[in-house]
């Protein structure tokens, strides 16, 4: 069984905090891990890189005691261990922060930490736990209020709670599954600082990601996986380029080369004028936002999470009520039902693909006709033409290369990239005047991102006005004709790309602008 890769097998040494040798794990129809090796040295940040479905999460779930491997050994500090549950793993000092957090929203930080402990068997000593949380948080430089309830915290703060919880449980090895997928740029920087200070005290970190730039900036060593196998084991980031990593991940050279047609921006298709709206908690999220999008133009919105960009998308698509004006080709749809925005020609790629953008248990056909079912040829009076629906769905599946076993399969079995292609196919096919795309590539892998970007550019070439809301600055720089920065519910600044767009200047505006340090017009507020 040595016919895999021509790399020297890792030698067990006492400095390895965690080691996996020859892990095999299969699921019905899928060999998720095919003799995978991984060695994690003490005090290092080891990045595990791979596309969605490469087997990273499976391997980590084996290490964290959630799955049992079909074959292979896991060693902790050189000793072979056999985990039967996550509890066994945490007892051995291995803790995992999952993509979806495992916190109880109605309880406080300290209570959540207490939940994971088995020391006070019966009596709950909240005071001591709170003190413990404060101490650990200070040690690794995390800011967390032990009294706060989880639902009051931002996603980034919740992630910190997860980390603190594991540290208090005695974790020496932290496995972070795509920790940056949910974070804003500033939060990512904070997380990296924390990770650095943690490894300095001897903790070891496995950092799972599919973002190349991130991995190169944080990792001490990198292991790349593709299709259940390791394609590069423990390599030094200094010796590799992004292109090398992309090739190892995808199995072919990836150079994002987008075909960008020169389009003259036309008339204004979307005009948002002095819009105010509350968020779900009843707090003002949009405070007089105004902007314009012309046909054949991509306008990017850059903002740190929670500055009103989600609400902006909802207001335009009729999913949130507001005051002010939202004009689609001269028709005011502000505070009108979603159906009117749709009728006016607005398409929407929502932030939450499975929660809003699709009906998970319904078939591909049912999901693909979601925009078209009200009009002929699908609608025939009150009836829905099944043949026409299937024809349309089949055509879209082929044209947009949505891979699924059949048209009747429920869309919940689709991968993230395929589901996003399905949503884009449906929205683009509705020939919209305006497309509102929110985080269209979040969580997708390199190959899929390239496809989504090209789709957006093609739609732009056809004359649709696109409002692209993204937390990936690189994405905005690559696609947008103009970038608007949103801060606290207003448009704070506008940059033309590529000429006038400077990453630092945009980043500064995203975090509150002038006073923070630009220093030429406003005096610093010290």
């Amino acid at each position: 069984m040595t016919a895999t890769e021509p790399l020297a097998p890792p030698v067990a040494s006492s400095s390895n905090a965690l080691e996996a040798v020859g892990i095999v794990k299969s699921f019905p129809g899928v060999l998720a891990n095919d003799h995978v090796d991984l060695d994690l040295r003490q005090g290092e940040i080891h990045a595990l890189l791979g596309e969605n479905g490469a087997g990273k999460s499976t391997l980590m779930n084996v290490l964290a005691g959630l799955y049992r491997p079909d074959e292979g050994v896991v060693r902790v500090d050189g000793r072979a261990v056999e985990f039967r549950s996550p509890r066994d793993a945490i007892t051995a000092g291995i803790g995992m922060v999952h993509q979806h957090f495992t916190l109880v929203p109605s309880q406080t930080v300290a209570e959540n930490v207490l939940l994971g402990l088995d020391k006070p068997r019966f009596r709950l000593d909240l005071k001591r736990t709170e003190a413990e949380v404060d101490r650990v948080a200070r040690d690794v430089g995390l800011k967390v209020d032990a009294h706060a309830r989880i639902w009051q915290l931002s996603v980034g703060e919740q992630q910190r709670v997860e980390i603190i919880k594991l540290l208090i449980q005695g974790a020496q090895v932290l496995i972070l599954d795509e920790p940056t997928a949910v974070l804003a740029p500033q939060e990512i920087a904070d997380l990296f600082t924390t990770l650095r200070s943690m490894v300095a005290t001897g903790t070891s970190v496995v950092f799972i990601s599919h973002k190349l730039g991130e991995v190169l900036s944080i990792a001490d060593r990198i292991t790349v996986m593709r299709a259940g196998r390791v394609t590069a084991a423990g390599i030094d980031p200094k010796g590799v380029t992004r292109a090398d990593l992309a090739r190892l991940m995808v199995g072919r050279p990836v150079l994002e080369q987008l075909k960008r047609t020169e389009v003259e921006a036309g008339h204004v298709v979307l005009q948002v004028d002095d819009v105010h709206a509350d968020n779900d908690r009843g707090v003002a999220a949009l405070r007089g936002a105004s902007l314009e999008v012309r046909s054949g133009e991509i306008v990017g919105i850059a903002a740190v999470a929670g500055n009103g960009q989600s609400e902006l998308a909802q207001v335009i698509t009729g999913l949130r009520t507001c005051t002010g004006r939202v004009m689609i080709e001269g028709r005011d749809v502000a505070a009108r039902p979603a159906r009117e925005s749709i009728a006016a020609g607005v398409a929407h790629v929502p932030e939450d693909r499975s929660g809003v953008g699709s009906a998970p248990n319904l078939s591909l056909v049912d999901n693909l006709i979601l925009r078209a079912f009200r009009r002929p040829p699908l609608a025939r009076g009150p009836l829905l033409d099944e043949r026409a629906s299937r024809d349309m769905a089949g055509g879209l599946r082929e044209a947009y290369a949505i891979s699924a076993p059949t048209l009747d399969a429920p869309v919940r079995i689709l991968s993230g990239g395929n589901l996003q292609r399905l949503i884009l196919a449906r929205e683009i096919d509705s020939a919209p005047k305006v497309l509102v795309a929110v985080q269209p590539t979040r969580g997708l892998d390199v190959g899929a991102i390239e496809g989504v970007h090209q789709m957006l550019l093609d739609l732009r070439a056809k004359g649709t006005g696109i409002l692209l809301i993204s937390e990936e600055l690189e994405e905005l720089l690559a696609l947008a004709d103009r970038i608007l920065v949103m801060y606290e519910g207003r448009i704070a600044a506008s940059f033309d790309t590529p000429s006038g767009a400077d990453v630092d200047a945009i980043g500064l505006e995203m975090t509150g602008g002038e006073g923070a340090g630009a220093g030429e017009s406003v005096s610093a507020d010290t």
């Binding site: 072979a80 699709s358 009906a359 925009r371 829905l384």
Partner: protein, 362 residues
């Protein structure tokens, strides 16, 4: 050895019906064991149930009479459940429907000898309308104020029961008994036995026109949910209400409309029962049809035609309950079937994996 449940990806199409049949079979085996434990003869009991329900054309007809209100209330539940509206109030809507139909006879002061062609449509309309109103109330409360429909529909059942009792004990009581006078013949739904003179085979058979209503209603519901845009929108709301809103569907209107239709179907069941079978309104007009309907809707996986099949099965169990002693046996089997169905549902979503402990290599 260790047994575990692992989530399934896409369950094959045949799995769900197979598991349903298996669940019913397992329920019957459990029932047999219970019977044997208390000293009964399970084989004899089951044979008796089968004979009592399907043994000859006469009892088969009686089974269909019992199945009729179950089909209509079962459809009422299945329709609402498709949108994840948990209408537990089919019982109350049934009672109101029965009351509404009775009101046409007893409350309107129509002249004696009003022909059936007037009476029966009027009773159908009144029954459906009364049931619909009993459905709209929780529907509006849910749509406008977000009031949990499980609580409201359940509570309204008791209100409906008290309402019917008030009328049969009070204003409409026949000589102080808790029932009304028998309706005039013109208000009776035609029965098979009415054609006994022409076709002797049919004489004595009590299956009535309500069965035809039930089948027509089934066909309409099936067509509406599977062939119309309306059915598509319902599927969308049922699977993901946020996606439905995103698709521009007015969910609140749908909630009220579906509750109204659901209530109307159950109300029609009440009308069919008083006009087709009992021929008067009385206390305890329903042995819990509206509650059995919930089990039927799940047994049928919310499919309209499968509701018909499940209703006949449960009609048989209700009928057999009257025939055999102890009558608790069919009720027990109903309960065990429901339990097994819930367990079977787990297996449509998860597979059981029996794994031998993997021996560590090296």
């Amino acid at each position: 050895m260790m047994a575990r449940l692992e989530p399934r990806g896409q369950p094959p199409r045949w799995l769900s019906p197979l598991l349903t049949v298996t669940a019913v079979a397992v329920a019957l085996v459990i029932g047999a064991i219970v019977l044997a434990l208390v000293g009964g003869d399970p084989v004899k009991s089951y044979l008796h149930i089968v004979k009592a329900a399907f043994g000859d054309i006469g009892v088969l007809s009686d089974t269909l009479v019992k199945a009729t209100p179950l089909i209509l209330t079962g459809l009422a539940c299945a329709l609402a459940f498709r949108m994840r509206l948990w209408n537990i109030g089919a019982e109350g809507q049934f009672l109101l429907g029965a009351w509404g139909a009775s009101f046409v006879i007893l409350g309107l002061g129509l002249p004696e000898g009003t022909p059936a062609i007037v009476l029966i449509p009027a009773m159908m309309l009144a029954g459906a309308l009364a049931g619909a109103i009993w459905g709209i109330v929780p529907g509006v409360l849910r749509a406008r104020l977000g009031v949990n429909e499980i609580i409201t529909t359940l509570m309204l059942n008791y209100v409906a029961l008290a309402w019917v009792q008030f009328w049969v004990f009070g204003p409409w009581s026949e000589g102080g008994f808790q029932q009304t006078a028998t309706f005039p013949k013109e208000a009776w739904l035609p029965r098979l036995t009415d054609f006994g003179k022409e076709i002797p085979l049919l004489s004595g058979l009590t299956t009535h026109l309500g069965m035809v209503f039930a089948l027509i209603a089934t066909a309409i519901v099936w067509f509406a949910v599977s062939r119309t845009r309306w059915g598509y929108e319902m599927r969308l709301i049922g699977d993901n209400a946020r996606a439905a809103r995103y698709a521009g569907i007015d969910i609140r209107r749908y909630i009220v409309v579906v509750f109204a239709i659901s209530g109307a179907l159950a109300g029609l069941a009440g009308m069919s029962e008083v006009a087709g079978s009992v021929h008067r309104l009385q206390d305890r007009i329903s042995p819990g049809y509206g509650f059995t309907a919930i089990i039927i809707a799940f047994l049928a996986h919310l499919g309209p035609w499968r509701v018909v099949v499940a209703s006949i099965l449960f009609g048989a169990l209700i009928l057999a309950g009257r025939e055999i002693q102890p009558s608790g046996v069919p009720a027990m089997i109903q309960g065990v079937i429901l339990f097994c169905l819930i367990v079977a549902d787990v297996f449509t979503r998860y597979r059981l994996v029996i794994a031998r402990r993997a021996a560590a290599t090296t």
